[in-house]
């Protein structure tokens, strides 16, 4: 009996401790549950009194901001797909090829991309996009994001792919599959959890990023929400708390939904070895 008790307490202790960390993580977000529904929101935490949807009503009137959510979706989905696709293909090829120094290559690219993420690099990128004649298009935003995020995506993914036994693909090839078939039928499903991590990461990055769309886009019809949210800042650069909170909620929903969907549908983990 004492064994049971000790064990039970041990487990309960772990569970409680974990839940506590979770709760602490949740605290800074509590404000968001209330503020959007408070017609006179402030930074202070206050239960809406009265509960009001007027902020949302006002936000919905801002057609620019609402349309921006759609634009964010186009750019994030496009960019994420491109990153996931190109990174998966490339890191697979790197992982499975006998090239020497491939580790170093991915790492060097990673370092390069860290420099480029700084704002100074916006100038050459802008010039290139202008010369290509695709300034002020969704495509330009998608391409530039994809390029910038790829090194990191490849760095993460190659790690995942290296951990997968080659015998999966070997057996597919012996079964008569071409390398490309083996990749799609066998390797891709097995590395899917890694790809999912990259997808969420890339989506979140693009969704929240301000600078690139801001530099590359001009027409209001194409601006994403990360830019549009600044329309809830006053002329003097101060936020209009009520509207901002309401819009922030709308703005956050897609990423949260994406995460919930993806973790429900695919999970964020490997299949693990099957030989128990």
């Amino acid at each position: 009996m004492t064994d049971h008790l000790r064990q039970f307490l041990g487990r309960a202790g772990f569970a409680f401790f974990t839940a506590l960390i979770g709760a602490i993580f949740a605290l800074p977000l509590v404000w968001f549950l209330f503020a959007p529904f408070n017609s006179r929101a402030e930074l202070g935490l206050a239960i809406p009194e009265p509960f009001s949807l007027s902020n949302f009503r006002q936000v919905l009137e801002n057609s620019f901001a609402i349309r921006a959510l759609g634009n964010s979706l186009i750019q994030s989905v496009g960019g994420t797909l491109l990153v996931a696709l190109a990174a998966t293909l490339a890191s697979y090829a790197l992982s499975r090829s006998p090239l020497p120094g491939k580790r170093a290559v991915t790492y060097v690219l990673l370092l390069f991309s860290s420099v480029v993420s700084g704002s100074a690099a916006m100038v050459p990128i802008f010039l290139m996009i202008t010369r290509a004649g695709i300034i002020d298009t969704h495509l330009s935003v998608i391409l530039v994001f994809a390029g910038g995020l790829l090194p990191t995506a490849m760095f993460i993914l190659r790690d995942f792919i290296d951990g997968i036994p080659r015998s999966y693909e070997e057996s597919a090839m012996v079964a008569g599959a071409s390398p490309v078939q083996a990749f799609f039928d066998v390797a891709l499903p097995v590395i899917r959890p890694g790809v999912v991590v990259v997808v969420v990461w890339a989506f979140v990055n693009i969704w929240g990023s301000f600078l690139i769309p801001f530099i590359l886009l001009r027409s209001a019809e194409k601006m994403p929400a990360s830019v549009a949210i600044y329309s809830f800042y006053s002329e003097a650069g101060t936020p209009i708390v009520t509207l901002l909170a309401a819009y922030a909620l709308l703005y956050s929903l897609p990423v949260v939904l994406l995460y919930l969907f993806v973790s429900w549908k695919f999970g964020f983990r490997f299949f693990g070895g099957i030989k128990a």
Binding site: F64, V123, F210, I215, A220, G237, V241
Partner: protein, 425 residues
């Protein structure tokens, strides 16, 4: 033919009235008058710095809108970089014949000019003053109707009186610190330094890096925020400090706040976040006094400063003539009159009457004659940032005025070079 306008304005968001005016009035009007021309508005949301970068990139490649909203104090920088062309050069000398020029004062023209050449047309100008809570003054034993300090000492005295009556209050708000950015320089430091009879530059345009005036200003800050806690020192240092000062005013914790007329037009206006309930009864204003009567800039008793945003033309526009026509049309009396319907304010043209708004009429007539403007210099921006740091050092108590000024001297010398600085001590 296509034309486009961009501005930091979003319907339903920041500067929504401006966006509405362009979309509902300017564009239909212009298109009706020019067959086959379509005009689009690029509503633009984002911070000042990003806007600057975007415009710089656009103007260097030929991208961007034909007409762009633009903060006047950046004109020297852009011109030096070759990113703007004078209107006369771009459109031709006939542009200078436009009837509107005669209705724009030289001071207002200067807002969008460099080396005497106009690069655009200002949208309007503003003036700065002390906004006051009548209710708070009254309850502290000060008569709001006759409230008008004539020296810094009187200003401080009023603040002390309020503080005594309301120990929890922060009676006086004079912007300081880095987070408020240019609002610190314009609404705070400038309003004080002009009161010492000095400016930021001397007559030759050299930056003053050492002077009694600077010390006086810093000591004023010290008195307000450190020694007597007449102001909310925290609000000067926090990222959202400016909002806090507005909230303090709204919540009757601040009795006197130095701001531009925008504070009245927009911040405290009915329906906005910092709306002051029963505004006309509770809010009043006063001129910013010089340190001592007559000691102010130009020997004035009271001081103020103006800034302005306006419109410039893209130097690479495909259709300079048409773009100019659009710009001129936007600044026609007809359109500016229409603009007053969307948002009443002081317009650039003297033939556009200020709507029957007592406050605007009164302040503009009283303060415009007193006003001055920021120096037209490419380095101003960087120096302004140093001013913000200098005030923050004092307000946070981490440096004495002398130390802060010494660092300011170092930093400004580094930015503009020894030759472009002046010491008055």
């Amino acid at each position: 033919q296509d034309l486009s306008i961009s501005c930091r304005c979003v319907s339903g968001g920041a500067n929504g009235e401006l966006a509405d005016w362009i979309k509902d009035s300017v564009i239909p009007g212009f298109e009706a008058a020019h067959d086959g021309v379509t005009v689009t508005l690029n509503e633009f949301a984002g911070g000042d710095e990003q806007l600057t970068q975007q415009l710089a990139l656009d103007f260097s490649t030929g991208a961007g809108a034909d007409i762009a909203g633009f903060d006047g104090f950046l004109i020297p920088n852009f011109v030096e970089a070759g990113l703007l062309k004078p209107i006369a050069e771009l459109v031709g000398p006939e542009a200078m014949e436009w009837e509107g020029w005669s209705h724009i004062s030289d001071g207002s023209k200067a807002l969008m000019s460099y080396d005497g050449q106009p690069y655009g047309i200002a949208m309007g100008t503003d003036v700065r003053m002390i906004f006051a809570r009548a209710d708070l003054l009254e309850s502290s034993g000060i008569d709001p109707a006759s409230f008008q300090p004539t020296s810094w000492e009187e200003l401080l005295e009023a603040a002390r009186q309020v503080k005594q009556a309301h120990p929890d209050s922060f009676p006086l708000q004079l912007n300081a610190g880095v987070p408020m950015g240019e609002a610190t320089t314009m609404q705070g430091y400038w309003m004080a330094i002009l009161g010492t009879g000095e400016s930021i530059t001397d007559e030759e345009g050299r930056y003053i890096v050492e002077s009694q005036g600077i010390l006086d200003v810093l000591n004023l800050y010290k008195t307000i925020y450190v020694d007597e806690e007449l102001g909310d020192a925290r609000a000067q240092q926090l990222g959202d400090g400016r909002n806090r000062t507005f909230a303090n005013f709204r919540d009757a914790k601040t009795a006197m706040l130095v701001e531009g007329d925008w504070f009245y037009r927009s911040v405290t206006a009915p329906g906005s976040e910092f709306e002051v309930a029963e505004r006309d009864a509770k809010m009043t204003w006063a001129k910013m006094p010089a340190k001592e009567p007559g000691a102010g800039w130009n020997g004035q008793d009271f001081v103020t400063i103006s800034g302005g945003t306006g419109w410039v033309m893209n130097p690479n526009t495909d259709a300079p003539q048409l773009a100019w026509e659009l710009l001129a049309y936007m600044n026609s009396k007809e359109q500016l009159d229409a603009f007053q319907e969307f948002q009443p304010r002081i317009r650039i043209r003297d033939d556009v009457p200020v709507p029957t708004d007592a406050f605007l009429t009164e302040t503009s007539s009283v303060l415009l004659p007193l006003t001055t403007a920021r120096p037209n210099d490419p380095n101003y921006n960087a120096v302004s940032a140093e001013i913000q740091r200098m005030t923050e050092a004092v307000v946070s108590g981490s440096m004495t005025p002398e130390e802060a000024m010494a660092r300011y001297k170092d930093a400004v010398t580094e930015i503009v070079g020894e030759d472009n600085t002046a010491s008055l001590m």
